[in-house]
């Protein structure tokens, strides 16, 4: 168990340009401290996030993935986050069915004014992944030739 408490997970976060990225930015400019495990990838909309991105992140060594977009109704492109919501509900259930703990694939709504919520979300995600430990189900391993 000692191993797990020392474990610092890698979280890949796909943030939409208009809300969540600005929210994370606000957390930074407001000097809100949040765990540094998260690696942010900015996309134009949460609806841009292809499930392949999630798979690929997990393959390449992410221990958890977060997709974050605007609250329903606030999407810059009107509907992108609604599509994303459907897509990721299915993806999450499916990965859980394969044996990937549900704590690893998360989704959140964070608006441009929610710097404090961003901190909470990240804490929740990081703690969740810490609980389940490193992702080693289908990480790309170096083959022994």
């Amino acid at each position: 168990m000692a191993e797990k408490t020392d474990f610092e997970p890698n979280i890949v976060a796909f943030l939409c340009n208009w809300c969540s990225y600005a929210g994370a930015d606000l957390a930074g400019t407001s000097r809100i401290q949040y765990p540094s495990n998260v690696r942010v990838i900015r996309v134009m909309c949460s609806g841009r996030v292809n499930p392949l991105f999630v798979m690929n992140a997990l393959q390449q060594g992410a221990d958890g993935v977060l997709i974050s977009g605007c609250h329903p109704g606030d999407c810059h492109y009107m509907q992108g986050n609604y599509y994303a919501r459907r897509r990721f509900n299915l993806m999450r259930n499916f990965l859980e069915y394969l044996g990937v703990e549900p704590q690893r694939v998360r989704m959140s709504w964070v608006s441009a004014s929610e710097g404090a919520k961003w901190k909470e979300v990240i804490e929740e995600v990081v703690n969740g992944v810490k609980e389940v430990g490193p992702m080693d189900q289908f990480k790309r391993r170096q083959l022994n030739w």
């Binding site: 990721f88 509900n89 299915l90 044996g99 959140s108 995600v125 189900q137």
Partner: protein
Amino acid sequence: MVDVNKLREKAKEVVSRDDVRLLIGYRPGTYGFRARPAFVQGPDEADELIFTPACVNNLATYITLEEKLPVPRGQEPDLRKVAVMVKGCDSRALVQQMEEKAYDRDRILVLGIPCTGVVDMAKVEAKFPGVLQRGEIALEGDRFVLSFNGSKEEVPREELVADKCLRCRYPTPLVYDELLDEAVERFADDDYSDIAELEKRAAAEKWAYWEEKFSRCIRCYSCRNVCPMCYCEDCVLDRLQPQWMRRSVDISENTAYHVSRAYHLAGRCIQCGECQRVCPVDIPLMELNRKFYKDVEELYDYEPGTSVENPPLLSTFKVDDREDFIL
């Protein structure tokens, strides 16, 4: 069961039509109880056609699988219809393809065959191994009658029928120009009991289960190619730039492949079970597809391939879709 003479007569009539180019049906296979797809272009070829419980293939695949070479200068493309024989599940593939606007309804001519269930060829060959000479399978009442090597054997239907048929909700085709037999009442329903047990297991157990299966995969892509819904002209698996899934065969890439394949069928899989049937190393692919099928039905009250009017599941949404999983 459809009368074979009536079937052949109808086929002859159809392929003789000026606006029909080809009829896709079934003919006896090369050995044992097998049946194989037939591509009939003239009335004289129609005499081979059959329909028996051994006709397991989903012929809807061939509508989108056809390769079209560029038409030489001065020639017109052949725009005549393709006629296709479909069972209940196969017809749903056509519905789903048309729902996705893969082609126009008037490009195909559908001969519907109400289906009372096909056999699982693996079960047949396990029960009657080593049958080389052509044998026949027929359904009589609730028993399959297998005639081969001059003898006849009767087997209760449940013993040899394909698993997918035991939970078939649509035995009668949902789309057709002509129905070749009396419609069949629904004789089963789907309660997802086959995947319920796996769903309840702990994460580590689930992964142990799938790791064993996925590590067997040889990436022959038969599950993709046989699937009537896998008709992208340029499959993401074949792309090299960007290469989302590597060609190397190991547990990581195999998992990525199977997740992608199953996910691409979310809200599209029509439960014909072809992928699992063709898998040479017996990966239970339908258990993947059915997880999506179940979730889609439970979460979004949606059943793929039932109406051409339905919008495709993932290109639509409801404002009040569930979001209790969102932080």
